[in-house]
């Protein structure tokens, strides 16, 4: 009896106490989205663990719903989280959490879309209800589509609809003429007769970016976290770009996790412009167009009170680019496009 007690006590020590002395642990949150499924594969295939081991850290990947994951990141319950440039600006950055985008994974190239009934044009939406998740990227897409058609947001009625039910609810209510949502809902809705895609994120390329965001303080103290994440990411990217069974096997894991078929997942990837190599992502964030695209996004955020309802100007938050230039308040830089890790990956130094 006594022996067994000691044994159990020892085992408990190993389970609970040892990790405290072991490698530093980091929590990374992710949510289901075509462009983020590679993270799940990185975990599933052991690639993430391999890279974490290489830099002698431990990374716990946690799957969450999207907004709760960003909230957890803002509350510093997780050290890193995947999110779009828009949420990064209006949630952590606007809450004073200095955040660094270390991986620019893709931009939405059709994953977000405005779908209409009766073949309506954007101009025909005047006075009509549009279902969407208010203040999300969908709302941004609405603002941009109206703007490009010489209209104002006041011209339509926004009906806030939860993303959980937006597809079936739109399909069941023929009175609803327009809906804006993202994939996989876009795919489900457009498969039905009488519905057409009117405006998509492909019409505003490289404006909606999907990023791996790491808390800048954590990253400064632990650059290993950035290295391990970036290394794992681009290894998965290289698996995905190999044609043939190896890539399909990886894509199947991602499709299963996203609860769709391989064909469906491949279709979603077509509307997700992945930057498969670090060089492609670097070319974009080190170029000049990104500042103009980010300006659209931050202007939208400011106009809708997302930078704080009493924010005095669009410039209250500083956004830093790889060339060191800062858009907005130099003294309040809270959103940084950090190219260093992708550069190391490009140079094969990881």
């Amino acid at each position: 009896m006594k022996k067994r007690t000691i044994l159990i006590a020892l085992m408990l020590c190993v389970i609970f106490v040892l990790p405290a002395f072991g490698a530093p642990r980091f929590k990374v949150a992710w949510s289901i989205y075509a462009g983020w499924m590679p993270w799940d594969y990185a975990k599933d295939s052991g690639i993430l663990k391999k890279w974490a081991d290489k830099y002698q850290i431990e990374i716990e990947l946690i799957r969450m719903d999207y907004i709760p994951s960003v909230e957890a990141y803002v509350a510093r319950q997780v050290d890193a989280c995947v999110m779009t440039n828009m949420e990064c600006l209006d949630m952590p950055a606007a809450s004073g959490i200095d955040s660094s985008a270390i991986i620019v994974g893709d931009y939405s190239n059709g994953n977000d879309a405005l779908l209409v009934r009766d073949n309506l044009q954007v101009r025909d939406l005047k006075g009509k209800e549009v279902s969407l998740v208010e203040l999300s990227v969908s709302h941004y897409l609405l603002a941009r589509s109206l703007e490009l058609n010489g209209m104002k947001e006041k011209d339509v009625k926004v009906l806030n609809t939860s993303d959980a039910d937006i597809g079936p609810v739109f399909l069941a209510n023929p009175g609803q003429k327009a809906v804006i949502t993202w994939n996989p809902m876009v795919m489900q809705i457009e498969q039905n007769p009488g519905i057409s895609k009117r405006f998509t994120s492909a019409d505003i390329p490289e404006e909606i970016l999907d990023l791996m965001i790491v808390n800048t303080d954590v990253l400064r103290k632990n650059p290993e976290l950035g290295k391990a994440l970036t290394g794992a990411w681009y290894e998965v990217m290289s698996v995905m770009t190999q044609k043939g069974p190896a890539a399909d096997k990886a894509l199947k894991v991602m499709a299963d996790s996203a609860e769709c078929s391989l064909a469906e997942y491949k279709a979603q990837l077509k509307t997700t412009a992945m930057y498969y190599t670090p060089a492609e992502a670097l070319a974009f964030i080190e170029g000049s167009s990104i500042k103009q695209k980010m300006d659209f996004v931050r202007q939208f955020c400011f106009d809708h009170g997302l930078l704080g309802e009493n924010a005095s100007s669009v410039d209250i938050i500083g956004v830093q680019y790889p060339d060191g230039s800062i858009q907005g308040d130099v003294k309040n830089v809270k959103f940084r496009f950090d190219h260093r890790f992708m550069e190391m990956a490009a140079d094969g130094k990881l």
């Binding site: 803002v74 606007a94 004073g96 203040l135 939860s162 079936p168």
Partner: protein, 273 residues
């Protein structure tokens, strides 16, 4: 004196101590909150998760006294929209009471409705929310329907049980005195069960509010629940917390009103309180 401590059945704290005890936990919560807010703000002056009281006062000012970017007083339009949904649902609970009463006195009603209502009562309304939106559309009907599916059967079953408790002798007595069957149910049984049923409705306010918020979070353009879910997108806890406090105050107000009404209207039912 010394024996009259917290665990003494005859304890009678002094007047000042009574007041202190009643408000102690409120003060403690507020104090704890303020300390947390200060600590977080010392670390990050832009913290939005735990706004200071000053920031929340600003949020209230913006919500309640200044027109928002659509030119509306946000708190006012939200409150009106939500109260409207609440009161319409409340009015539609009157048939629930009548149904329960009939089930309690008329065997045909009991046979037809009892099993079904008992089953229906156990359906988790929130789980069938998408179905409701498909059947009732995205307008007001679906929101009221959700509240009713949530609490209607509960109220009916309560009224039924209370009606069953009324001694049968009273019904017989009524009949011998020449009352019609309808008079017996509406003028002998109903007045006796009403105070208890009103009390049950009062206790179900919480459930009603929960269903109201759930409905408003899914598809709406206005409402207290709607606002809380939308401003969550930019972590505006300085608006969410005052909204939650405001909703609680409204609920407490409604609760107190019903209690007051029962005490005034049915003093016999509250004789020992």
């Amino acid at each position: 004196m010394s024996a009259r401590g917290p665990f003494n059945l005859h304890a009678r704290p002094k007047k000042w101590l009574q007041t202190v005890l009643s408000f102690l936990l409120f003060a403690l919560c507020l104090g704890l909150y303020q300390v947390t807010a200060m600590v977080r703000h010392a670390e990050n002056p832009q913290d939005k998760i735990v706004p200071t009281f000053g920031e929340m006062a600003e949020g209230v000012k913006r919500s309640a006294f200044e027109p928002d970017r659509d030119g509306e007083i946000r708190l006012l339009v939200d409150t009106i929209a939500s109260l409207k949904r609440f009161f319409i649902s409340l009015a539609l609970l009157i048939p629930a009471v009548i149904l329960g009463l009939y089930m309690g006195v008329f065997p045909y009603f009991e046979l037809l409705f009892l099993k079904f209502t008992t089953f229906f009562d156990k359906i988790p309304a929130l789980a069938i929310l998408p179905i409701l939106f498909i059947i009732f559309g995205l307008g007001e009907v679906s929101k009221v329907a959700l509240i009713l599916i949530g609490v209607f059967p509960t109220i009916t079953l309560d009224a039924y049980l209370r009606a069953k408790e009324v001694p049968r002798e009273q019904l017989t007595k009524g009949l011998t005195l020449g009352a019609s069957h309808h008079e017996i149910s509406l003028r002998i049984v109903l007045p006796q069960i009403l105070p208890a049923v009103l009390n049950t409705i009062r206790l179900n306010f919480k459930a009603m509010i929960l269903f109201l918020i759930a409905g408003e979070s899914l598809a709406a353009t206005v409402g207290l629940g709607y606002r809380i879910f939308v401003v969550r997108r930019y972590m505006a806890m300085d608006i969410i917390i005052p909204y939650v406090v405001w909703m609680s105050l409204l609920a407490v107000g409604a609760d107190l009103f019903v209690r007051f009404y029962i005490r005034k209207r049915y003093p016999w039912a509250t004789v020992n309180k």
